[in-house]
Symmetry: C2
Subunit: 274 residues, 2 copies
């Protein structure tokens, strides 16, 4: 049997449709503000985000501050932006320079669409209503879209970062999965991963997941991203695709869903429904 292909595009399109319907209901295009420095990678990301906004019937305004801004000025900007009458979401550059890290505390919880404020994190921790980090939520959205049951499943997550591994572990526990978190200090990683019904890798280490990590019942979700020879690739070695029960590739898997999920959070914020 050929493996189930968990492509991101159909899921992202499904979310886009639901977002467009919500925008029609709302009667206005919700606006996301991004705030960051004149940083190449961040500018590239936010410019592309703004470009895709029209397709999602939402608005994105990127605020770029100069390198010589004072922390207090930056904090005030964050606070004022959250208070803007047309502001439905705010996302700060991650990571922020050390002296600016406290800015996350000024992202109002009601517009914290990428779960940057510690109070929003606490809601995630307690399993209370609130925004979840877009990439972690995108993994769940993708699995839900393809009707992959989570309850009672053995989910193994490779990676314990704040963007994916850690929040996803808590979110999967809340969805009644039995969750194992692995990382660089895990012994016999392949053996631990073999127990997975659903294996999620979020390391950014190309080719880490090889055929000995999976069996023919494993669903593999690749959330890694690295660049090898100028080409983007995930954590999962292509040989795995021939063995496992299903997989979400990189590129073309979780990536497109992440953007849609961020805008889905923006819609929730606009509805005041968190």
């Amino acid at each position: 049997m050929s493996p189930l292909l968990l492509y991101g595009k159909p899921c992202a399109e499904h979310l886009a449709e639901s977002i467009a319907n919500s925008v029609t209901e709302l009667g206005f295009a919700p606006k996301l503000y991004t705030i960051g420095f004149d940083n190449e990678q961040w500018l590239q990301y936010t410019t592309s985000l703004a470009k895709s906004a029209t397709r999602y019937s939402v608005e994105v305004q990127n605020i770029t501050v100069s390198q010589d801004v004072l922390p207090e000025e930056f904090f005030k900007l964050v606070k004022d932006t959250c208070a803007n009458a047309d502001c439905c979401g705010v996302m700060l550059q991650q990571p922020l320079p050390t002296e600016f890290k406290q800015a996350v505390n000024f992202v109002d919880v009601s517009v914290d669409v990428d779960c940057q404020n510690p109070l929003t994190c606490a809601k995630l921790y307690y399993g209370q209503d609130g925004f979840r980090p877009a990439t972690a939520q995108a993994v769940i959205n993708l699995l839900d879209f393809y009707n992959i049951e989570l309850q009672g499943k053995n989910v193994v997550i490779v990676g314990r970062g704040n963007a994916v591994g850690k929040p996803l572990a808590l979110m999967m526990i809340a969805r009644n999965a039995t969750v194992t978190v692995c990382h660089t200090k895990t012994k016999n990683l392949a053996k631990v991963c073999q127990n997975a019904d659903i294996l999620i890798s979020a390391c950014g280490k190309a080719g880490l997941i090889t055929s000995d990590f999976v069996n023919n019942n494993t669903i593999v979700v690749d959330v890694g991203l690295s660049f090898v020879g100028g080409k983007s690739c995930g954590d999962v070695s292509p040989e795995v695709y021939d063995i496992c029960a299903g997989y979400s590739p990189v590129p073309g898997g979780v990536g497109p869903v992440t953007r849609a999920t961020l805008f889905e959070n923006l819609i929730k914020a606009a509805k005041g429904d968190r």
Copy 2:
């Protein structure tokens, strides 16, 4: 080989000694305030806490409020107590009645010795310095006291509650253990537990952990507490003791360490060292 016995008393006594030394250095006895309602279980716990304070060279003052207090009055009491010049720690009754739950937000992070404020939880989540829930920290203290290595070990936690399972999972991940969280929806619980180097049960379900859950290399830490025929007992069935490599029993295991750990947190608060 007879199993390693992880009794709590020697660990608690070791912590008590270190606490006494710190109090001598500080030059004053740090004070913990507890705030709760006229609730039998809570009164019993806090009375016993106050009694044991002298042994730990610290002070405990229990504030009991009447059932007809208004939420706003309760919140103000929490806030004012935290601001008391002699206050080093504040612990609120858990769980609080629904309308009073928000009181945790008024426990100042600097005196939040049982990790009740969401901001303290966020520090736990991010692995930042801060107070950890006493019971979860007690499990780590006990294992550390008996020189049980955590890094690279397969730790299986049965239970996903806010008091033990969930915080302990994050704390164990931060200590470089490979962590699996199980719960009521876990399938083949015995099989999952068999993979554990360290098995921690925090369910409150007497006799849940039976001999088929362990092997002769497993260290078992029992954090369950239930009452059967008027006797307190843990989650672990006694037959397990004959098979595993080591165990911490109930009563006599984590229990005594929890109190010492709470007072250890109080010392950290008094030192302003969090």
